[in-house]
């Protein structure tokens, strides 16, 4: 058979790995035809909403729902007393704690769910909420974790035994009634010894403030109990639909095969949509009670105040070095404010997530980390906001400690990083706190980044600027923010990563259709990452059918294979690997079919782009399309008909993307307004599947980093009132505040991932936050600044300038 098409054209036709394929998702979104949870409309659907506590800590003396039930359109009001007979007034959290579904005798944070009003529509529900009478008795409020650890006030009476002793928590012994756990990594004594004997030691305390992922779409669900068939369908904004199904089954007693969880289009997640929330449980119960579908959609205030905060880490560090700048030891203590319930979304064995990656990209021989979790009167959550389980906190910590050490040594911070990087030949590298970094080439990335921005030139300009400032010629300072980060993503190996006992593997199932197109289903769920586009590219390259002929489907637990969902940049490292592996199974069978059709031995054909050809005789081949047809329609001795495969992939290790970022910022000392002049981001995410999508992820992640570093926070007053419950107070940058970013890359494939990919969605957030923060701090370094806490909003920057005496 004569081949008219060149090999390059055949490669292009596939739109496989490495090309900037346009997204297949976009048609529906650009035409207003997305299908998000709030777009779901079912016959007779009701609407549920919460009565929420105005107090941060109070006992509930009584709840009177009589007047609410008189409100037109209100059908039912659920309280803890209604849920108790079903055992659903509390639910397990992802962190091994339990959490009230509806207030059981008391409330522990402002906005806590007290009663659930079910009505014909939102307006009737709102009227019903107004009519519910709750009698509260206020209790002393604890918003400061350090105070909480000393206070006589008991936040969680349910965790104190009758004789006053403290039973162990999910992560071991508790030191105080408001203490949750102590978690350690590394070697305590050796580290303390190294630091005690070191010639140079830098110390710093820093607060990584509480913030919130705040996707543009809030959380919500539609629960629909079909009593005739005994089936529950739960549609909602779930980043982990299968895990939700299992949890719902465990707590409701409904058998798992009778539960179908569907994640429709999701309007951004960033960690907010990982957890299990009261709204899901109450909607399910309400649907069972009323026999009708029940929808629950958070409003923005509910979202910011109650579901899924992030960060809130008080970190104390000590770092030791030789006078030449070689780091010898690192000590870190964290006081972690978890709010009223420990609902952090971390793998079970990691109550502080992957905070133990806090030695960063540096070859630090000895280190010790200790984290104390604390209950306070704040909302529960502790999710990974666009990051992999506290890695953002870890990277912020080490990248600030490096800067602080550079000041102590009076050294250039770029040079200090360079002399401490783990060297290329040291990989795989086992860090002092236990992780085995799979691969990296930090020096190459760093040199490329510094060269791209003309680092020496920037420093010279900065020196001149300081001189001009001192001479009264300008009121603007210049900051050069550096960060070099190593991420740890792709959770994770089942041997050490599980959530609620569910192993963190992921999956892909492929069916090839007879005419040479395919559908693949995965255990993950896209929230904007473009899985339908990129996973088809992986498959196209693996199985030789065009990406345009491959449908990717996720988010329906009745059809998709079991998987742990999308967060922590785990989709590409885990489900992407499963996709490649399933594709290889398809290819293995296709090889046998091709050999049969070509009348040669299996070993005598080889895969080439979109076909199997006879070795040494490339003109004799069968295309994958032909093979697909034959698989279904030709009796092949010894082979079952059909062409399908499934792979459950348990990753042998995490992946370790890294990157080098530089931010150049001008700061007006009189207004505190920063102007980001330049932002250069080099990312190494291993093999690149779709450069266009990678760049998009980098732009988005950097913008969320900018938000966190420069203004975004969830703040409370002393009474536990959340001061940032609307978008008026909670900073989300607009196009006006955001710069253009320059993106760049190096490629260091992961050695253990089937296609070498590492994941990228969260890197820019993880590396971006310290980069923006370091730029602000660096601007003030010549005037004696060592560290100021984020968020660096205009007021705080102005205050830093004022405290340093720069306002004359």
């Amino acid at each position: 058979m004569k081949d008219e098409v060149t090999r390059d054209e055949r490669v292009d036709n596939l739109k496989g790995m490495g090309c900037s394929r346009k997204r297949v998702e976009d048609a529906r979104f650009t035409q207003g035809k997305g299908n998000y949870v709030d777009d779901i409309k079912l016959d007779g659907m009701l609407f549920g909403d919460f009565v929420r506590s105005p107090y941060a800590h109070a006992r509930i003396k009584s709840i009177d729902t009589a007047a609410a039930l008189e409100v037109p359109g209100v059908l039912a009001v659920l309280t803890a007393a209604d849920l108790e007979p079903l055992g659903l007034h509390w639910m397990p959290t992802l962190a091994g704690d339990k959490q009230m579904v509806l207030a059981d005798g008391k409330v522990l944070f402002q906005g806590q769910e007290v009663a659930y009003v079910v009505a014909e529509d939102r307006y009737a529900a709102a009227d019903g909420i107004e009519a519910v009478e709750v009698d509260y008795e206020e209790l002393p409020v604890l918003v400061d974790p350090f105070e909480a650890l000393k206070s006589d006030v008991v936040l969680r009476e349910d965790l104190v035994a009758e004789d006053g002793t403290l039973p162990d928590g999910a992560h071991g012994p508790r030191k105080h009634h408001n203490h949750i756990f102590t978690w350690e990594a590394g070697d305590k004594e050796p580290t303390e010894q190294v630091i005690a004997n070191a010639e140079v030691v830098a110390e710093e305390s820093m607060y990584y403030h509480r913030t919130h992922p705040c996707p543009l779409e809030t959380c919500g669900c539609v629960a629909s109990m079909d009593k005739v068939n005994g089936k529950l369908t739960l549609g909602g904004t779930f980043q982990a639909p299968h895990a939700i199904r299992t949890v719902v089954s465990l707590i409701s007693g409904i058998e798992e095969h009778n539960i179908r969880v569907i994640s429709p289009d999701i309007g951004g997640g960033f960690g907010n949509k990982v957890g299990a929330y009261s709204g899901y449980v109450c909607s399910v119960v309400a649907s069972i009670v009323t026999g009708k579908p029940v929808k629950w959609i958070e409003d923005r205030m509910d979202n910011l105040m109650t579901t899924a905060f992030a960060r809130d880490y008080w970190m104390k560090g000590k770092i030791s070095a030789t006078p030449e700048g070689k780091i010898t030891g690192l000590h870190c203590h964290v006081t972690a404010d978890h709010g009223g319930f420990d609902a952090c979304a971390d793998p079970t064995k990691f109550p502080a997530g992957f905070m133990n990656i806090c030695t960063g990209s540096y070859d630090i021989p000895t280190a010790y980390l200790e984290v104390d979790g604390v209950y306070t009167n704040k909302a529960p959550g502790g999710v990974s906001y666009r990051c992999s389980f506290r890695v953002t906190e870890a990277v912020y910590f080490i990248e600030r400690m490096i800067e602080v050490l550079a000041i102590k040594l009076d050294m250039d911070a770029a040079e200090l990083r360079r002399i401490n990087f783990i060297k290329k030949e040291q990989f795989p590298y086992t860090a002092a706190l236990g992780w085995e970094y799979d691969s990296g080439d930090y020096h190459t990335a760093w040199d490329k980044a510094l060269k791209a921005v003309d680092y020496d030139g920037l420093r010279a300009e900065q020196t001149q600027r300081v001189a001009d400032f001192k001479a009264g010629k300008t009121r603007k300072l210049m900051g050069i923010g550096l960060s070099f980060f190593t991420e740890i993503v792709g959770a994770g190996p089942v041997k050490n990563c599980d959530i609620l006992g569910l192993g963190m593997f992921d999956s892909c199932e492929i069916r090839i259709h007879p005419t040479g197109s395919a559908i693949a289903r995965l255990g993950t769920i896209s929230q904007g990452q473009g899985h339908a586009t990129t996973f088809a590219q992986i498959l196209a390259s693996e199985i030789g059918l065009p990406a345009d002929s491959i449908t990717i489907e996720e988010g329906d637990t009745d059809t998709a294979p079991y998987g742990l969902g999308t967060y922590g940049s785990r989709s590409t490292p885990v489900a992407g690997a499963a996709t490649a592996m399933a594709g290889r199974k398809i290819r293995a069978k296709a090889q046998m079919i091709a050999a049969y059709l070509l009348e040669v031995h299996d070993d005598d054909v080889e895969f080439d782009v979109d076909r199997f050809a006879v070795k040494g005789a490339p003109e004799k081949f069968k295309t994958m399309k032909e093979i697909a047809f034959a698989a279904y329609n030709q009796a092949i001795p010894g082979l079952e008909p059909g062409l399908e495969a499934v792979s459950y992939y348990d990753p042998p290790n995490m992946t370790y993307p890294f990157g080098a970022y530089v931010c150049v910022m001008d700061i007006d000392v009189d207004t505190g307004v920063p102007d980001i002049r330049r932002f250069y981001a080099l990312d190494d995410c291993g093999t690149r599947i779709n450069p266009m999508i990678i760049e998009g992820q980098v732009h988005g992640g950097l913008t969320e980093a900018l938000a966190v570093a420069l203004g975004q926070e969830i703040a409370y007053d002393k009474m536990g009132n959340c001061k940032t419950g609307t978008l008026m107070d909670f900073f989300l940058p607009t196009a006006w505040e955001v710069p253009n970013y320059e993106t760049d890359y190096t490629v260091t494939p992961s050695p253990h991932h089937p296609i070498g990919a590492k994941g990228v969605g969260e890197s820019p957030h993880v590396g971006g936050v310290p980069c923006f923060s370091n730029a602000v701090q660096d601007a003030f370094r010549p005037f004696g600044n060592t560290h100021t806490n984020m968020p660096h909003d205009h007021w705080r920057i102005w205050k830093t300038a004022n405290d340093l005496g720069l306002h004359g």
Partner: protein
């Protein structure tokens, strides 16, 4: 006692008549009463722009207006500017330049951009960033949204020139 009133609005060229309480926000009228689910809800406090529509020639956040205030008005939503057979240049440009990720802000972004390009057919980057600053996107970092709007402007201007 019914608190409902009679209203008539035109949406995407179609006249709609219905009874509703005056307190109903226009975004709910569109989404729940008329099943026009392109405009989304991100805040209900006029901050995010996900609910943006065009009313009598102006960009309006549909969560800012009661249905009573919209009575008699002419409304265009994302569904009214183009479909599978006649995509608006902006709809195409957002796809070509990766101007969206989760897509939740996209209908509001695009409908706002249609007005921006009417107001300023050849905007500078700064004018785009300022003119779009009522619309928040949590995913894209705006860089590719700006690019998409620039590309659509170029295409629309070229088409206009060709027609002249």
């Amino acid at each position: 006692m019914s608190k409902k009133q009679h209203y008539a609005i035109t949406v995407n060229g179609k006249e709609e008549e219905f009874l509703a309480e005056p307190r109903e926000l226009l975004i709910y009228t569109l989404r729940e009463r008329l099943n026009i689910t392109g405009p989304h809800i991100g805040c209900e406090t006029s901050h995010c722009g996900a609910c943006t529509v065009t009313i009598d020639g102006k960009s309006v956040k549909a969560c800012t207006m009661f249905v009573a205030q919209a009575n008699g008005k002419d409304i265009t939503t994302i569904e009214g500017i183009g479909g599978p057979d006649n995509l608006h240049p902006l709809q195409n440009a957002f796809k070509e330049h990766h101007g969206l990720q989760c897509g939740y802000c996209t209908p509001g972004m695009i409908i706002r951009a249609t007005k921006l390009l009417e107001e300023i057919p050849n905007p500078t980057e700064e004018e785009i960033r300022f003119g779009m600053s009522g619309n928040i996107c949590r995913c894209t970092g705006y860089q590719n949204i700006v690019k998409s709007i620039q590309a659509a402007a170029a295409e629309m201007n070229a088409a206009k020139e060709a027609a002249e």
